[in-house]
Symmetry: C2
Subunit: 99 residues, 2 copies
DNA sequence: TCGATATATCGGGAATTAACGATATGCTTT
DNA sequence: AAAGCATATCGTTAATTCCCGATATATCGA
C-alpha cells in the first residue's frame, strides 16, 4: 500500500489546522448551530476561520477526503465534513508497527 | 508545534522505503556484515538498494535525520543510519491523540 | 603527503504543490 | 423558469520538491 499520499495530505499546516479544529467542532466552530455537529462542519464555516479562499478550502477538504482522513455528507446545498477517527487510529498503528 | 515537517519527510515513497528497510537491516542489507548493525546501515549500502544516486540518498537521509526519524553515527569514513523507534512511537501517539 | 574511498553539499532543470480567481454545478426558493 | 447561495472544478502563477551531476569535505592506507 502507498502511505505517502496520506502523509502528503498531512504535510501542510493549513490542512493540519483544519483537522485539529474538526476534532472539537463545538468549541472551534460555535457559529454553526443549525444542524448540530453530527455530520461535521460545512465548508463555508471552515473557510471563514481559515482565512483561505473558498476554492482552496474546498480543494483541501477534497484532498483530506481522498485519503480517507475525513468524510463528507451532503445535506441540501451544504457539504459537512467530519474527521474519520478510525482512519487516524489505523494510521497511528501503522506508524507504530508497519512503517 | 509544527508536525507538517515530519509528515513532509514521510510523504515520499523512496524515503518510506528506506525507513522500512531499516526496520530490519539484517534481512534487507545482508551485504553489510563488517560492523554488525548496532549503528544501522551505511549510506553506500542503502544507496545500492535504492537505485537513486549517492547525493539523493544522502539528502534523503539528512531530511529524515533533521526531523528525528533516524539517527546517524559516523565511524571512520562511514556514516551509519538507524531508525529512532522512540520517534515513531511518539508520532503514532500524536496521530492517535493530538492531531 | 598523495591518492582512494565514503559522505555531504551545492546548483539546477523538471515535476509537483500552494493558493488564487473565474466559472461551473447543484440545491432551494420564488 | 429564474435568481441566489453553497460548493466543486478549472486554469494559472509562484513556490517548493524531486533527483541529478559536479564538487567539496573527511577519513583511511601507502
Amino acid at each position: 500500500m502507498d502511505y505517502s499520499e496520506i502523509f502528503k495530505a498531512l504535510s501542510n499546516k493549513s490542512r493540519l489546522q483544519i483537522l485539529h479544529w474538526l476534532k472539537d467542532p463545538v468549541q472551534h466552530f460555535p457559529e454553526q448551530q443549525h444542524n448540530g455537529y453530527e455530520n461535521g462542519v460545512c465548508v463555508g464555516i471552515i473557510q471563514q476561520k481559515c482565512g483561505l479562499t473558498q476554492s482552496t478550502v474546498s480543494d483541501y477538504l477534497a484532498i483530506l477526503q481522498r485519503v480517507g482522513l475525513v468524510e463528507a455528507t451532503r445535506i441540501g446545498q451544504w457539504t459537512y465534513y467530519r474527521r474519520n477517527e478510525a482512519a487516524f487510529a489505523a494510521l497511528g498503528q501503522i506508524i507504530e508497527n508497519k512503517i
